[in-house]
Symmetry: C2
Subunit: 152 residues, 2 copies
DNA sequence: TTCGCAATTGCTGCCAGGTCGCAACTGCGC
DNA sequence: GCGCAGTTGCGACCTGGCAGCAATTGCGAA
């Protein structure tokens, strides 16, 4: 079977990014394991917000024996390395996405819908929290709750 | 034993507030039960952030048979009536406090410390979310995470 | 190539926080 | 003081996640 770099360039871009991350992992004394690679594929394969459970399901579709706790441990590791962000969207499980797709989150208390918003919207809040309390807000890790336009 | 309205005026102020809430409950077709009264006493008795578990413990110190699920159900009801706010402070359990003591929350990701901040700090965020997405932010119900001055 | 060993994994068991269904009990309007 | 809808106690259950441990495995060095 020939290489398919011509027909699937997007996948190869992801592939390179994945190898970059694994190189970083190795540089920190970590290892490039199949589970790790598959998890990164799942993360790079879509830009959305995925729960640990969803990511585990996707990893398992290729390697059924990968355990949920392995996924949790690797997500933790990847977050520590700054590759991904984890976000608690209100009630449900924590969600994970690539750090490169950084943004804030508006989550409706009623219907649960989620809207991604640019970081700039938090500018004033970030500045006043720093000025008044010395507190450094990270707008990627929490959800701003309220009512969406439909539910009001 | 004589009434002690002279020596403990604060408790009587709470007492009146509690009766007001129970009147509201009755007006909505609800009932004034001992469990409900004790829960309100626990809520009015301190201005802090209390978890369901803590509130249940306090209620049980007066009525040992009150079940945790009863506390949860009553907290839900009181929140629906607008008497209290519930807030998820990051990882831990949800916390509850009187709606009259409304404020936002800065929670440190590292040490877990929590700082209460005035609603005004969210003004710009609230306005831009409404203008750009029609989204009505409720600043009392979520925690803004980041790093506190000590942990940076 | 092989070796050694620390990193990683799969697994089981456990925990916290909270919800649900149901039968029994009880405020409270009449 | 009756009746019944609202409420309660109880136990089972659920989700999300972490911890300990023995077995496995990358991978740098020889």
């Amino acid at each position: 079977m020939p290489r398919d770099s011509q027909t699937r360039p997007a996948e190869h871009a992801s592939h390179d990014a994945i190898e970059d991350v694994l190189a970083l992992v190795r540089k920190q004394g970590g290892r490039a394991t199949p589970a790790r690679r598959l998890l990164l594929q799942a993360l790079f394969g879509s830009r959305g917000h995925r729960s640990a459970e969803e990511l585990a399901a996707e990893v398992r579709s290729h390697a059924p024996d990968v355990h949920l706790s392995t996924v949790y441990r690797n997500l933790e590791e990847l977050e520590r390395l700054g590759v991904i962000d984890s976000t608690r969207l209100g009630e449900g499980p924590a969600t994970y996405h690539l750090a490169s797709a950084a943004h804030g989150h508006l989550v409706c208390e009623k219907c649960g819908s989620m809207t991604e918003v640019p970081d700039e919207m938090f500018g004033a809040l970030v500045r006043s929290a720093r000025a008044r309390y010395g507190f450094a807000i990270n707008p990627h890790r929490f959800a701003v709750t309220g009512l969406c336009a439909n539910c009001q």
